[in-house]
């Protein structure tokens, strides 16, 4: 690898880093939670870019597929399920600002010292080899049990979530026919079940 390609990598790193930091700031600072959710898209996307720059191609594409394609959708749905989403005003009190600053500094210090102390292996050009095949081989041989257990975990998550949501719907139904009309949006047509 020539010096030139490292410069290109550095440029891309700073592009993605700026994207992550900028959009993450938007997520926190925007008052409208729908806009925050959409800003989160760019944060997750930038993280995927960083993964790929680090040579973790499988993780990077997984990030796009699951976090952007799945978890973000879930978050957007969660936002849309929020009661009176149009008038939800996120207001951070001063106390949370102080707490947030302290926890940010502590987290940064921890990560900084971790990075400084780890003896990083230099593997050079090998880091750019595709990783999906080796990951598959490891999953099918050395890590077969964790692989199968992962599906059990997924099933547990699915059943648990379905159960919780179902009980939620039941509670709403039991709360009364039509519910308290004062909480509905002004137009009666869009009312939830």
């Amino acid at each position: 690898m020539s010096v030139n390609s490292y410069t290109v990598q550095a440029v891309f790193f700073y592009i993605f880093a700026a994207l992550i930091v900028g959009s993450a700031l938007l997520v926190v600072l925007l008052r409208n939670i729908v806009r925050s959710a959409f800003a989160l898209f760019f944060t997750l996307f930038g993280v995927a870019g960083i993964y790929i720059l680090l040579g973790a191609d499988f993780v990077g594409v997984t990030q796009v597929l699951i976090y952007i394609g799945g978890v973000l959708i879930l978050i957007v749905f969660g936002v849309m399920l929020t009661h009176n989403v149009y008038s939800v005003d996120i207001f951070n009190k001063l106390g949370t600002l102080v707490m947030g600053t302290v926890s940010a500094i502590v987290t940064f210090t921890m990560i900084y010292y971790a990075i400084k102390q780890v003896p990083w292996l230099y593997i050079g050009y090998k880091a750019n080899a595709p990783t999906t095949g080796p990951i598959g081989r490891e999953l099918m041989t050395s890590y077969l049990l964790p692989f199968e257990l992962a599906s059990v975990l997924l099933v547990l998550a699915m059943i648990g979530a379905a159960y919780l949501i179902r009980s939620e719907v039941k509670v709403k139904k039991a709360a009364g026919n039509g519910g308290p009309s004062g909480e509905r949006p002004a137009d009666g047509i869009r009312k939830e079940d």
Partner: protein
């Protein structure tokens, strides 16, 4: 590998630039005289009723959640497919177990009726006004979604 992703990046860049240039060009060319009809929300040609900001049905959430679960499953299929040929039938049985376990969850969700959109068809008659409204709900919201 970086070379492969540089082509991905090119697609990305072209996509972003294409949209940006088109929007900019349209902004330069078009006359700007907004009126009430033009500024209204686009709802597939229908007159929008009320605000677009309303609480969605909670059943969207369970569908999205099941989607995420199977999204994760699909991701596991890619590394498996790459080594399937070299490992052979063992890999086939491994993946079969993996998928069958997930299908148990799917069967549970299906059986409990979480995938049915209109749940209480039997109860439609009682409590008429409320159920009629919730019966029309799917149409209203699916019009909203796309």
């Amino acid at each position: 590998m970086m070379i492969d992703f540089s082509s991905v990046f090119m697609f990305l860049a072209v996509g972003v630039i294409f949209v940006a240039v088109t929007m900019l060009l349209a902004r330069l060319i078009r006359p700007a005289d907004p009126n009430v009809v033009k500024m209204s929300n686009y709802e597939c040609g229908e007159d929008p009723i009320g605000s677009g900001w309303f609480t969605f049905n909670v059943r969207f959430y369970i569908i999205a959640l099941i989607f995420v679960i199977f999204d994760v499953e699909a991701v596991f299929l890619f590394p498996w497919a790459l080594v399937f040929k070299s490992i052979g039938w063992i890999a086939f049985w491994d993946m079969l177990v993996f998928i069958v376990i997930l299908l148990v969850g799917f069967a549970y969700v299906w059986n409990m009726g979480d995938l049915d959109w209109i749940k209480d068809l039997d109860n439609l008659k009682e409590n008429e006004e409320d159920t009629v409204i919730s019966g029309t709900m799917p149409n209203t919201t699916s019009g909203q979604v796309h």
